[in-house]
């Protein structure tokens, strides 16, 4: 009868972090930490990644980044989606094998494998999953080569669509402090017209410190910076 729009995602600010902690508490019952983290997330990392908003959320300031980094112990990433005009500081809430899942306070997540995009949730037009092929190995070894990758999305009918890409990975100069190697991945769609170019700054241990990566037709490119591993 009545149209009810569910306000849940807005109401449950910080719920994901709280939830994670509630579960940890169940098993290990170390109090305090959960609520502190929860409060922390509320205070400093409230930037919601919002699709299509005209003004966009306030930028995360360097001071905020430092404050968060000083207080929490989890891995932290600063992520920026220029196409949807939004950015956020995201912190690790889960790890499954090589894939780390990072979250905003507004129950949005980004999953990265050594900084490489494996998925996103709650951003609208999400990258549902991706198969990176040999890319992680090439990045870790800072070697060039040709790789194949598959990226999967949901269409307007909620059906899975799969894009296949052939990508040329090249290694550029090593420079800067800390010293990083610039790597570029140029991808063109197989049986399609899409193409994108990702770039990665890889440190001496083969870990991605900074990147520009394509997250799909809706989200466009993401700029990431690993604040802490």
């Amino acid at each position: 009868m009545s149209v009810t729009f569910d306000p849940r995602p807005f109401r449950r600010l910080g719920a994901l972090a709280a939830l994670g902690c509630a579960m940890i508490l169940q098993g290990c019952s170390s109090g305090g930490e959960g609520s502190e983290l929860n409060k922390y997330v509320r205070d400093f990392a409230t930037q919601r990644i919002s699709g299509g908003s005209s003004d966009g959320p306030a930028r995360v300031t360097p001071a905020q980044v430092q404050q968060v980094a000083a207080k929490v112990k989890q891995p932290l990433v600063l992520i920026d989606f220029p196409k949807i005009n939004s950015n956020a500081l995201i912190l690790e809430i889960g790890r499954n094998g090589p894939v780390q899942t990072y979250a905003t306070s507004a129950r949005q997540t980004v999953s990265l494998q050594n900084g490489l995009a494996r998925g996103s949730r709650g951003l609208g037009g999400d990258l549902i999953s991706s198969d990176l092929g040999e890319l992680p190995r090439l990045i870790a070894q800072r070697r060039g080569g040709i790789i194949h990758r598959e990226m999967r999305f949901l269409d307007g009918e909620d059906q899975t669509v799969r894009f296949h890409f052939s990508c040329d990975v090249t290694v550029g100069a090593t420079s800067g402090t800390p010293r990083t190697t610039a790597m570029t991945e140029e991808c063109t769609q197989i049986n399609g017209l899409r193409s994108f170019t990702n770039s990665y700054a890889v440190n001496g241990n083969g870990r991605v410190l900074k990147s520009k990566q394509w997250f799909g037709p809706s989200l466009g490119d993401a700029l990431t910076r690993q604040i802490r591993f």
Partner: protein
Amino acid sequence: MPRSLRTTLRGSAAALLTGLIVFPSVGAQAESIPSHNLYGVPGLIDMPTANVAPDATLSTTLGAVGDQGRATLNFQITPRLSGSFRYSRIDNFPVPGAVDGVYYDRSFDLRFQLLKEGDYLPSVVVGLQDFIGTGLYGGEYLVATKEVFPGLEVTGGVGWGRLGSRDPFAETGHRPREILGEGGLPTYDRWFRGDAAGFGGLSYAPNDRLRFSAEYSSDTYTAERANGEHDDDSPWNLGIDYRFKNGAQLSLYHAYGNSVGAQLTMHTNPRKARVPGGAESAPVPVAPRAKGASRDLGWVGNSTTGYRNSLNTAMTNDGLVLEGLKLEPHTATVRLRNPRFGAVPQAIGRTARAMTRTLPASIETFVIVPMVDGMALSAVTLKRSDLEALEHEDNADILARTAITDGFGRAPTPFDDQYPTFGWAIAPYLQFSFFDPENPLRADLGMRASASYRPTANFVISGSVTKKLTGNLSDIDRVDDDALPLVRTEKARYSAEGDPAIEHLTVAHYGRPGRNFYSRVTAGYLEEMYAGVSGELLWKPVDSRLALGAEVNYVKPRDFDQLFGLRSSETRTGRIPDVNGHVSAYYDFGNGFHGQLDVGRFLAGDYGATVTVDREFANGWRVGAYATVTDVPFEDFGEGSFDKGIRITIPLSTVSGQPSTERSDFVIQSLTRDGGARLNVNGRLYEQVRGYHQPDMAKTWGKFWR
């Protein structure tokens, strides 16, 4: 014949709102949608072209020129086939059936693309215009369109009937003028018969926004000139289209050499969602177990309340209800109720994620049993190690390792604190009736109070009461000359006297009498006009695309005031039988089409069948049509000959971007008559059950990890 022109549109305020929000929106395909004409089909001005809209495009056109006003809903049923429903108004047309010189008519069109445009060949479309009914707009055509230069299209065609009335160059047989049956039957005896004439035109689009059109019309408006005030001064019509950013088309025309016209066409497409994949918040990550932890059985034998509580917290966060839980050393069975996710796999996926985070490490097998009205609709079995391994993989991988089996006997008993439950709501409602010739839009506004009480999981006692605040629905003053008992046509009296009205007040029981079987018994005030008992049995194997059902109803008509009284079954035109019912077959063709056949005895005691075909989309959209034919002779049924209509279902989630189990149904039906009428009882089984079965879940499985 004005009585056949009124069409009712059933729907809630949500349906209307949804419609208003949805219909103007369109996806990125806007540029490839061809210009539509005044008849609301791809065309120039009054003439059709052979252009074809992208598959599943749903277009609404409002157009007026001279004395003609037309509202058309056009749907691209398949990539080549499209269908239209049109409601039109002709001023200054005092023919029988007109009210104060204004004539209303409904019409249906079909178009089929015979040939797709190639490098050298044009697109070719064959069309039937107003092919059911009185045939005022009746005409057939064969038309070809070719883009000869970027933006420049040339169209030429041959028309019959109305489209063959100007300078015919040939005659193909005899075109009868008599109406078949009582109007409402396909006019197959006329198709492509009689005079044939040529039409054609040009259109040029210098950019994405503008299009200029010129056409030579083969329609001389013979009937309008003979009976009305139409002047056919020129066969040449001119037009200009403006295309908005969202794809909507606004057109201005100069037609017949003497009139101006305007048109607005809006497009939507069920295959487009506002936010692809939805905008809802993220699920919690899978929590993989530490190596070797699965051997730890230390928890067995101890209290499991803690596990229950943490799982409950996690599921509540996702809007899911943990109704029961059974923990065994290596298996956990969850009794799930899903009030939130229209895509069932999403509810299953989120429950499974929560289970990985909360349950003891030794538990390897997850069985999730989704419940609706106390019926275990299926049992979804997942391996925890698969969930851990496939969290970031293709969703097809986890589907291949998921077993969806019959839920019969699989559900744990609900926790003691789950039942009884009580719920209530008070909300405004809007009820509409469109297309009455004396008042094309009628509406009632009021308040509705509803409540439900569930003493156990399987019993529902529910009711709703309405109080009208304002409206004019009850002003309808039709008198019917049916040969059937008045089972539906006293609607106006119910509407006038039922204030306040008890819409329904029933006790219902739902159950699983055995494997593959589902049951419902409903007793009480079943709907606004009937009270009694309704029983239903459904056979639906969990992996089957076929379902069979049977329903038997014993009913007595309710008093017009819609309170607690009953009235005699005797009506002016006969006695309403006590017993009606159907056997039904439902079949999911698997290619996006779904069919339903109901055979049985209708409310008025007439025997017959209803055939329904829907185009269904995985996100929950449906566009379909139905027809009911009974043993009532067409002349006894009255105008329209038999019941037919169009129905559209819009899931709220595709509009809001947020998950929801709520959907809005629009039914555009011919005038409600007494033949082929069914009881409107709540809670019919098939729609409740099918979403939780394998074929439907496989379609929406992309939402499992979402």
